[in-house]
């Protein structure tokens, strides 16, 4: 009950604050100046607020609980991505002054067709990223209200869509900054309180020793919504469907829907896909091969370290920095803020392994963050803490999903629709943006309904893999290399996109294990180098068509304040009410 209130309060508060600030900013008519006066700390909090999604809030803890410490490379990569962004693109992109990835692609390479290709890839990445947000919303509402999963997905999809269409919470720095602190507080406070209450991590043997997750002393009762295939790690009896059954060690059993009871201290059966093993194996960040071997770890790191710079909803935020140097300082602060946040998900994963073994039976480890408080501290304190966590999780979906949908709607209405038929005036543009906000949500909602069984962290990992294989080479070469041509960039991005998505879908279709399986689920280690090679090779082969690179590099790299004609930055317009920003390069 408290949790429902907390979730409603966060939702209403966020949407209300967003809408209200937009009104406020418009009446003072100077949103733009205000946003340029934003200090690096505020802007860093806003970037982190938009970045920390369901994947960070729920997904990391869920994946660590399920796959073990190998998933800890995920937050490392999520943070390290900002370091590469800082080193290679933050200041130049701010100086260049194009607002979106599609703008940059068209302006830098002097080719309107590049805009279309970039727009298509933006839709792919944001779509992949939006699905896990909706899944997170679905399982959180299920947890909090008991409503069915699909209802949560549809309701939150609708709310976000309406919110974006009405213009709430868009590019509003202070709202996003507030969201960051709300999320950090909501994940940090319960973690600290629970650790103090429990006097440290419980059950070391299960976490780091020889133990496997076991039923508590009073036995374990799990309610399954649907039949669930599980594997028993040790011989055990269980009661299900009105009878008592025996399972051998390693036996694969399909448990019927309904209540399943395990005797006290029985090793819990684990749902298909989870591979928990003993504590020593679980707590190993790099395993001996296959899905937790070094190849998989490196591929994951490449995807996250290089993919961050290709996330459309994050890049837009850098333009609220007044100049290139501030963009750099902002990014350094983002590194610090993410460090703070990522201290905590692992705590929930460890508490979950020790205290919430039922999640291994149902396979729903993604909801561990929501479940742990009440299990660790039964009664009202636990309920209060879990209400706080649920509110933070909701803040995470709302902010990230809104940012993503703004990118999607802008891309559909501005980059694609306008090319088919030019809009008749501002009103028409605004109408188109609203229609795109509604249409753009349909496919992700449908996909999220079918993605119940996929882990949030894995889905987001794919979005990073695609971004790293497409936009990362385009930015790195476009910013630093004179020789990049439009055909080269187009070929490299196409190769990267096809390889990455092809591998991911192949991995879903066939159940390959070992090295091949780990490459299919995380293809970046192959797709990124090939995308780079194609881009460089084709650019060299099409050297005659090279755009005038000197003027481009001047705009990218010359510091502000020189007063040179070429360096006059286009005035950056305020986030327009109708969303998509025109190419601002002059």
């Amino acid at each position: 009950m408290i949790a429902i209130l907390a979730v409603v309060a966060v939702t209403a508060g966020t949407l209300g604050l967003g809408t209200w600030t937009v009104r406020f900013a418009r009446t003072t008519s100077d949103l733009f100046v205000a946003s340029r006066a934003v200090s690096p700390w505020w802007n860093a909090a806003a970037i982190s607020g938009e970045y920390l999604s369901a994947a960070s809030f729920l997904g990391i803890a869920g994946l660590v609980m399920k796959d073990g410490a190998v998933a800890l490379w995920l937050p490392v990569g999520f943070t390290a991505g900002y370091l590469t962004l800082l080193l290679f693109v933050a200041a130049p992109l701010r100086r260049y002054g194009s607002y979106t990835i599609s703008d940059f692609a068209e302006a830098r390479l002097g080719s309107p067709r590049m805009r279309l290709l970039a727009a298509a890839i933006v839709l792919g990445i944001t779509g992949f990223y939006l699905v896990p947000q909706l899944k997170g919303a679905g399982i959180t509402l299920e947890q909090v209200t008991g409503a069915p999963y699909w209802l949560g997905v549809v309701v939150v999809g609708g709310i976000v869509s309406l919110n974006v269409a009405l213009g709430g919470m868009r590019g509003i720095t202070y709202v996003q900054a507030f969201q960051f602190w709300l999320k950090t507080f909501a994940i940090a406070l319960p973690a600290c309180v629970l650790l103090i209450y429990l006097g440290g991590l419980p059950n070391h043997n299960t976490l780091f020793g020889d133990g496997v997750p076991r039923a508590p002393a009073e036995g374990l009762s799990v309610t399954l919504d649907q039949p669930q295939q599980v594997v028993f790690p040790a011989r055990s009896s269980y009661r299900a469907g009105g009878g008592v059954h025996q399972a051998r060690k390693g036996e694969r059993v399909t448990l019927p829907a309904g209540e399943v009871r395990l005797p006290p201290d029985a090793a819990v059966p684990v749902a298909d896909g989870a591979d928990t093993g003993r504590g020593v194996k679980w707590s190993r960040p790099v395993g001996s091969g296959g899905s937790d071997g070094p190849l998989f770890v490196y591929s994951l790191l490449i995807a996250t370290v290089l993919g961050t710079m290709g996330l459309p909803h994050i890049l837009v935020r850098f333009y609220t920095s007044p100049d290139g140097s501030t963009a750099r300082r902002t990014t350094v602060r983002v590194l610090g803020l993410l460090w703070l946040f990522y201290l905590f998900p692992v705590v929930y994963a460890m508490l979950g392994r020790a205290l919430a073994p039922a999640l291994y039976v149902t396979g729903q480890t993604d909801s561990v963050v929501l479940r742990v408080p009440e299990l660790a501290w039964p009664g009202e304190p636990g309920q209060l803490l879990s209400a706080l966590v649920a509110a933070g999780a909701f803040a995470a979906f709302l902010s990230t999903a809104s940012g993503l949908l703004v990118s999607i709607s802008g891309t559909i209405s501005y980059d694609l629709w306008s090319r088919v038929r030019r809009p008749r005036g501002t009103l028409d543009r605004r109408r188109r943006f609203r229609a795109s906000a509604a249409v753009g949500m349909v496919l992700p909602v449908v996909l999220a309904l079918g993605a119940r069984g996929l882990d949030i962290g894995v889905l987001v990992g794919w979005a990073f893999a695609i971004a790293a294989s497409t936009f990362c080479p385009m930015f790195l070469l476009g910013v630093w290399w004179r020789g990049l041509t439009a055909p080269g960039a187009a070929a490299g991005m196409t190769v990267g996109a096809l390889l990455a998505t092809g591998a991911i879908f192949a991995g879903l279709a066939i159940d390959a294990g070992g090295t091949l399986g780990s490459l299919l689920t995380q293809p970046a280690v192959i797709s990124v180098p090939l995308a780079f090679a194609t881009m460089i090779g084709v650019s060299l082969a099409t050297r005659e068509g090279r755009p005038d690179a000197d003027a481009q590099l001047l705009a990218l790299h010359a510091p502000e304040g020189l007063g040179l004609a070429q360096l006059e930055r286009a005035t950056v317009p305020a986030a327009e009410p109708d969303g998509p920003l025109p190419a601002t390069r002059t």
């Binding site: 943070t79 080193l87 780091f208 750099r328 460090w339 020189l562 040179l564």
Partner: protein, 110 residues
């Protein structure tokens, strides 16, 4: 575009503005210096981050050492990398701003 050098001395800024041969040299020098800085920071960062998985893979018995009850490999992934990123980022930011500043002095802004 001809200038006899008597009436008015051409500053690097004019040359840059007119993208003459000299201007190009100045800009190339800045871009090269910035790129060299970024790459050296990247090498430090990739060297440290990239070595860790290999180290943990090759020396599995690090797991038998524990720090405050937690196995060392877990601690190595969860704790030291983040402050390291901040430190590299902070150092880089100061140096990159200094390069920009030097360029501004050379070209002579308003």
């Amino acid at each position: 575009m001809r200038d006899d050098g008597r009436t008015r001395r051409r500053t690097p800024r004019d040359e840059l503005a007119e993208a003459t041969a000299h201007g190009e040299v100045y800009l190339r020098r800045l871009v090269r210096a910035q790129l060299a800085l970024s790459i050296s920071a990247l090498v430090a960062f990739i060297g440290l981050l990239g070595a860790l998985p290999l180290l943990l893979f090759l020396v599995p018995h690090l797991a038998s050492i524990s720090v405050a009850g937690i196995p060392l490999p877990l601690v190595l992934v969860a704790v030291p990398l983040f402050p390291l990123f901040v430190a590299i980022g902070w150092t880089y930011q100061r140096r990159a701003d200094a390069l920009d500043e030097a360029f501004r002095d050379l070209v002579g802004g308003p």
